[in-house]
Symmetry: C2
Subunit: 375 residues, 2 copies
């Protein structure tokens, strides 16, 4: 188990693994107990919030491996961390890092993926990339294992052939985990999404900034704005992704485009408004669905109750529905507020409210699940 | 000026007016400088967040009055406060409180309004009621002065005839301030709203609870949950209003029904998801609009720039759009993220993002503006 202590909302605890550790047993530790047939792994961007969560999820799921490389930028190289009782030193990512690596989990930003993803593939590594770098490339599968596992057909371990597989954007994963089972039944024609996105989506430093700013504001001080250019504590703002010429920001257009690709449906209409709220690590989404075929709310609720990776929290009497805090550090995406849309007729519309851990199912868990499908 | 010091996000400063003041000049102070023709006022629920804001707005707008009564529950009676340099003692609200009162601004909850609103009307008082008690009664005008001033036709001061006028719900006011000018041009057919609602909507005690909880969580303590039954700090949850049999909560159905009444359009389709976010005093709303007639985004932006009580903040290059913090303590509702909806064709849809001070335009300012129309 990675020595990551997850506090449900505070970030400063998140990177305790990177504390120097006096014992150093070499750059790539080998787990003695594992069969030689297990794949060799690499984690790229291991000191980041998602990188840390990769380790946590690999451990939680007993992912088999014969070796694991901890890779990061030069700045982080030399840092030491403990994983499953072994001590590792973070290595600097270079082209040679991928020699002999079967599966690499990337989460170090789009430019690192663009530079090193193809290099790894050339050396025979299957790359599961959490960045947006390759998501919309036609030949790169964009995969949520519960939704479109078939997109990975043909990619196999042990052939010596590398490949790129893209992990969708966190908001897309969380949205489609809930919307897909309903889409499969009644066919979504149009989807209107408004997000409530946590600090974690902008990385560990953003979580730290939210915490720091909150302390400052409570002390009557001016908030420190380094990651975001405006006050985040007790405030919210339009997602910080660049705004495109059509007025949508990149985060919103990811939801629009990735949904079409994952559902393999060029005609599905999606619109989104992405907002950053002062929550630490789980996203929420208000989703309005318009269906081609009628779907009543009881049927929808039952479909969702039986959907893999989904939990329904929909207690109207007690007013208990999904919250970001409740899903933090959890694998399942929670769905609630399931109700027939009063603005649509004939059971052709539903409103739902969804929460999912941005770092876990929104990133690391989904990537590790993709890797599991290769085993 | 009321001695209310508004901190933009923290509540503990909000009720400084109720600090005991050594000078007491009687229950109903008379402003010497005002003409005898100005109306006599009463503020019901004066110690609450909205009640305090009534005083602030009356003062900011130089609302003329010959006398003003500070009314609240028995629990608060005897408290002293300073308003425009005069000291007042809060009086217990009784049936006799309204003798000689021309205009009463009510914000003490629905049950107080139900009990004392008709009593006041009987005594010849024109009641502007901030609660939901009478909003949907057919004969009670539901008014946003910039939107449907004509609904108040026939209600006049000085006739000795009392009347009820309802102040819409805060989410409705903020939504319709932005949506109405667009509706007037292109006719809204359907509106999908997701809210990001501040603590202030649940009163001063909720703002205090958010502040307290945040301090507790930062100190690693369990959060105190008195007003809300779950953690609010660094979290969000479905609005705490009771959930109805159709799965919508009361807050959401207010948006649906009040929009129809204010626009005098029984056919307009509205759906809403109302979420409480850890922000102090201003609401945000993501609004998706479907129009009968085409409306391009430049025209929409110009319409909004010229709309009374609306300010457009829509700087795509700098990624600067409305935030709750920016509109806190401001009169205008801010609109941004104005863009043609990519999920609709032929300029028949728009996405907008709106922020408005819940206590001010969402409650006290709107009520005082209604009262101004009586002058």
């Amino acid at each position: 188990m990675a020595a990551v202590t997850h506090h449900p909302f505070l970030s400063s605890k998140l990177l305790q693994t990177t504390k120097p550790n006096p014992i150093r047993i070499g750059p790539t530790a080998v787990r003695m107990s594992l069969q030689e047939t297990a794949p060799s792994l690499a984690v790229v961007g291991v000191t980041g919030a998602v990188g840390q969560e990769f380790l946590s999820v690999l451990s939680d799921r007993d992912f088999p491996f014969r070796s694991i490389k901890m890779l990061a930028s030069k700045r982080s190289s030399g840092k030491r961390l403990t994983f499953q009782g072994c001590d590792y030193t973070v290595e600097e990512l270079t082209a040679d890092s991928f020699d002999g690596v079967d599966i690499a989990l990337f989460s170090a930003g789009g430019s690192i993926s663009k530079e090193f993803g193809p290099v790894a593939v050339e050396r025979g590594t299957i790359v599961v990339d959490n960045s947006s770098a390759f998501r919309m490339e036609e030949k790169v599968p964009l995969v949520i294992p519960e939704v479109n596992p078939e997109a990975m057909d043909g990619i196999k371990l042990g052939t010596g052939k590398g490949a790129l597989i893209a992990n969708p954007n966190c908001s897309t994963i969380i949205c489609l985990m809930a919307a897909t089972p309903l889409h499969q039944r009644a066919k979504v024609q149009r989807m209107v999404v408004s997000t409530y996105q946590a600090a974690s989506g902008a990385g560990a430093a953003a979580m730290e900034e939210l915490e720091l700013q909150t302390r400052e504001v409570l002390e009557g001080k001016s908030p420190t704005c380094k990651i975001f250019k405006q006050q985040y504590a007790f405030n919210l703002f339009s997602h910080n992704a660049p705004v495109l010429s059509n007025g949508y920001n990149e985060e919103e257009m990811k939801l629009v485009k990735e949904t079409r690709k994952i559902w393999n449906d060029k005609n599905v209409k999606v619109t989104a408004t992405c907002i950053r709220v002062p929550v630490m690590r789980a996203h929420a989404e208000s989703i309005n669905l318009q269906f081609e075929n009628p779907l009543d709310e009881d049927t929808a609720r039952n479909i969702l109750k039986n959907a893999p990776g989904v939990v329904v929290i929909d207690d109207r009497a007690s007013n208990l529905f999904p919250t970001p805090l409740e899903v933090s550090n959890k694998d399942d995406v929670a769905v609630g507020r399931i109700r027939c849309d009063v603005s649509q007729e004939g059971n052709h519309g539903l409103e739902i409210f969804v929460c999912g851990d941005q770092i876990r199912k929104g990133a690391a868990l989904n990537a590790v699940q993709i890797a599991e499908m290769l085993l």
